[in-house]
């Protein structure tokens, strides 16, 4: 059995199992951790598909940054309080599962018709990235896709500012007159009046 196949059949079941476990687990924080495992398995798949650069990006950006952000928010909101226990819609769960299975069947048929279930990737990808995958991706990125690349920098700045605006706590400025009034009334409301 070729090594590629071994690696695939080790990591593909782990990826699917992690995704299933993410759906089944009761704790939101475990769900996030299972998602990290799933992302790591997908990163290995990138390695099998000769995309070493995306392997690194997947680990750093997805398993690292994005999931840490998720965990951060879960912790921030309080792990035990955010699980929702409202009643479900009629047949919601069975219908969703049936739709999911139907989707898998559909995709299988489409792959069979379009790609073929045993089609191997053509040779010649190594010539495409002789100097290394990262260099080859960089050449395409900075030559053919330079304008979209610059546009993403704007996108990221806008997203960062938007996050700060959306998540900020509205803090009302307290005037000196209000503090004086509170102190005069003998009921300083909190610490800020002490100074």
């Amino acid at each position: 059995m070729p090594l590629d196949n071994v690696v695939f059949w080790v990591f593909a079941p782990i990826a699917v199992a992690a995704a299933v476990a993410m759906l089944l687990t009761r704790h939101v924080i475990y769900a996030a951790l299972f998602l990290v495992a799933n992302f790591a398995c997908i990163a290995v798949m990138y390695l099998l598909l000769d995309a070493a650069f995306l392997f690194a990006v997947q680990i750093i950006v997805y398993a690292g940054a994005i999931m840490v952000l998720f965990l951060f928010v879960i912790m921030l909101l309080g792990v035990d309080r955010i699980d929702v226990r409202s009643e479900r819609l009629f047949l919601q769960r069975p219908l969703a599962i049936v739709l999911g299975i139907g989707f898998v069947v559909e995709v299988t048929a489409a792959i069979r018709a379009g790609v073929g279930l045993s089609t191997h990737a053509p040779e010649g990808f190594d010539q495409l990235q002789q100097a290394g995958n990262t260099q080859a991706v960089a050449a395409v990125l900075f030559r053919d896709y330079f304008f979209p690349f610059e546009a993403t920098s704007i996108l990221l700045i806008v997203a960062a500012i938007a996050a700060m605006v959306l998540a900020q706590r509205k803090v009302r400025a307290v005037t000196q007159a209000e503090i004086d009034a509170e102190v005069a009334a003998g009921q300083p409301s909190d610490v800020r009046t002490a100074s």
């Binding site: 299933v20 759906l23 998602l35 990006v57 994005i66 998720f70 929702v84 089609t119 990808f125 998540a167």
Partner: protein, 101 residues
């Protein structure tokens, strides 16, 4: 490279289907969001697999852009969830009725 490309596409399809089920079943906004991330990843895997099949690095670059956009999307989405939670003490998507017609 001896694993057929179809296997990767099938894996991506299964993960995408699991993401669909997660979005349809859950009420918790954070869980829905995580399922959407799963779907995004499945699509990225498809892009990379097709890049390999067609000997075209454009697919990998597109997957890279997709990751960048996903990062931006996560930041804004989580900020929205945090601000909803601050307002209503809940992340149940059924309770957020402000944007309903």
């Amino acid at each position: 490279m001896r694993t057929p490309i179809a296997y990767f596409l099938l894996l991506a399809g299964v993960l995408f289907a699991l993401g669909i089920v997660g979005v349809l079943v859950n009420r918790n906004a954070l869980r829905i969001f995580m399922s959407v991330e799963l779907q995004l990843n499945a699509v990225n895997l498809t892009l990379v697999a097709f890049a390999r099949l067609r000997n075209d690095l454009g697919g990998q670059v597109l997957a890279f852009f997709s990751m960048v956009v996903a990062a931006a999307e996560v930041v804004v989405g989580l900020a929205i969830i945090v601000s909803i939670y601050r307002r209503r003490r809940s992340v149940d998507v059924d309770e957020v009725r402000e944007l309903r017609w």
